[in-house]
Symmetry: C2
Subunit: 409 residues, 2 copies
Amino acid sequence: MITPQTINYEDKPLSGLRVVDFSRVLAGPYCSMCLGDMGADVVKIERIDGGDDTRRFGPPFLEGISTYFMSLNRNKRSIALDLKNPKSHEVVQRLLKSADIVLENFRPGTMEKLGFDRESCWSVNPRLIYCSISAFGHRGDPEWSRKPGYDLILQGMGGIPSITGEPDGAPSKVGASIADVVSGMNAFSGILLALLARSKTDRGQHVDISMQEGQLSLHTYLASAWLNAGVEPPRNGNRHLSIAPYSTYEAADGWLNIAIANEKLWGIFCKALGTEDWLSDARFSGNAERVANIDALDQLINARLAHHNVAHWIGVLQDAGIPAGPVFSIRQALEHPQVNARNTIVAGSMRQGPAFKTVDSAFGIRTRTPRSDVSAPALGEHTLEILRECAFAEDEIKSLLQDAAAQTT
Amino acid sequence: MITPQTINYEDKPLSGLRVVDFSRVLAGPYCSMCLGDMGADVVKIERIDGGDDTRRFGPPFLEGISTYFMSLNRNKRSIALDLKNPKSHEVVQRLLKSADIVLENFRPGTMEKLGFDRESCWSVNPRLIYCSISAFGHRGDPEWSRKPGYDLILQGMGGIPSITGEPDGAPSKVGASIADVVSGMNAFSGILLALLARSKTDRGQHVDISMQEGQLSLHTYLASAWLNAGVEPPRNGNRHLSIAPYSTYEAADGWLNIAIANEKLWGIFCKALGTEDWLSDARFSGNAERVANIDALDQLINARLAHHNVAHWIGVLQDAGIPAGPVFSIRQALEHPQVNARNTIVAGSMRQGPAFKTVDSAFGIRTRTPRSDVSAPALGEHTLEILRECAFAEDEIKSLLQDAAAQTT
């Protein structure tokens, strides 16, 4: 009997599908990287004069290649085209005929100017799933739809910085580009949903991703508190509004997080710290009291933690069953033993370029592939191969390549 | 001809699929809410003694119902069961036979104890997609796999707080529960991928979501800088490491974000601010110089911005074509005109309970439904209806309901 355990997962879920990827920089390329990881043939359309801007983002570079570019473009093929040349149009048209998905993250209006808006694409192939990522979405108020966006600007308009950081300081943006990455994640889900829908309707549809909506979707209960009870969450540092102690504390050599969510844990916590006298302190007799006297409590906890380093305290607290953990740097986070045990970091390479490492996508399905499968393209690396797949004659190909070379010189 | 524009999108992409949802609190329910939004029949299995813990999370409450619970449980049906009662096992077994997806976010080991680990579920129905969400994933080092996780702890171990907040202050957690929500988003994508794979293999698989991996997947170029060039990103407040001015600034009545990414914008910016003298200041003559003298520059910008309020400056800067935007509170973010124009906020209701509002999922596909379709269940609201669907006889149902009533008293 074939059981779920005996399936060959190397036949990836999206193998057999083709993506025509006009996207650049972060949100779009993140989405198409996920599509490529899962088996789709991603054809990255790049400008002949330099390609994706992120090829020049840096430092840092590794052997002259942008580490930024590497992190977002594994498992893709690159074709370099001058989209303003009518001959290039014929190339894209042939690609669209054989494709399943179009992805773009231009400002609304740009794809129309290039001649590849969704109506034009559907006239070539009505089964195409056409995914757009933009700051405020294509649908809605046309004036807002046309506005550009940047991760920093969309984070600010989404509301997360207003509740991140110290109450008496400035609002803090999130250090990672979450407005971009979350949009890429939503685009990926939207495309998968449209593929499932297409299996019933045999028709594509427009997946219209708004970076702004992506930020709002992260709020869950915080949005509900305002929408349904008129309660607006304040910026509260790392403290919890209604649980204490539940925050970030300082040991002798750094920071750690501690989460004491009930009275039983509070008792164990005081014992583990060797501060049983707090148990008889009226200021801390229950959670409500501890929340009310949080300044005094936090001061006492930090004073006690200052006697030892982070590793000591995390050992003591975890052994006692207290939810506690370190505040890792990016390096420490990537070097954690479980990251190694799960092969979360995947190795890749570039043609005539360096070997590199990236973080695998986190969808939890078994499609991890050997190293040779995870490469990132040089600009135009696959132009010739793709033109041949599109059944251009050799003399047409020669002419197309000459035009391209003329443009770059 | 049927074109993508004429498809009836009310036939949702996941209609006809059933989810047996053991999950509670945030990450799991976020995923199953998305499944329900997209048309799946989500059967939420709840403890008869109180159900999902989040039914009691608050304040705030609306007419006695937790606004937290509302924000994560629309488009689901609730069946209340005592899973330790053998008769309840038969109910779940029958549900599993008719289901496509099992979702759970217990600590690894718990589903085995309940008798609904993935091997047991597949012995009933090998087409089941079995999705687990846990702190460190089921695969990997067994010792780490078994450890519990909380949003705060996983944020800290994922590395984002280390690069969020002021350089001379504490690391800042992200105000929204991104470790939980991102895990729910990854679970949703993983399930959709497994559905697409099942259409080829006719078999389910284990979708093994690690909250830790979800955090690492957000780092993209920041992880690559360390992995491929040994450069570790520091905590840098809201400033950009290599572009200036690109940060959060303070006007007379609040904050705003400004992003000046090239020399042309720098010229326009100085003109818009009425500070053309900066253009001849040697400290600011190019981007590298501005990055080197960022303290002096930020001080000057803030002093100039202090003369007017946020609305004034955003008007001036946006009119000039400068990327600039406000730092919205959660309320302001939700009340933005484009949010209204796109119907991003959806209205719902509870049986004999209040009308409520939630933020729609952000997958960009057209499945917005009338208000009546967006409800959240009372505890056990659909127990009787689901038992009948499972073809239990009326006397068996009576006995099951009596057992349940006995347990709650």
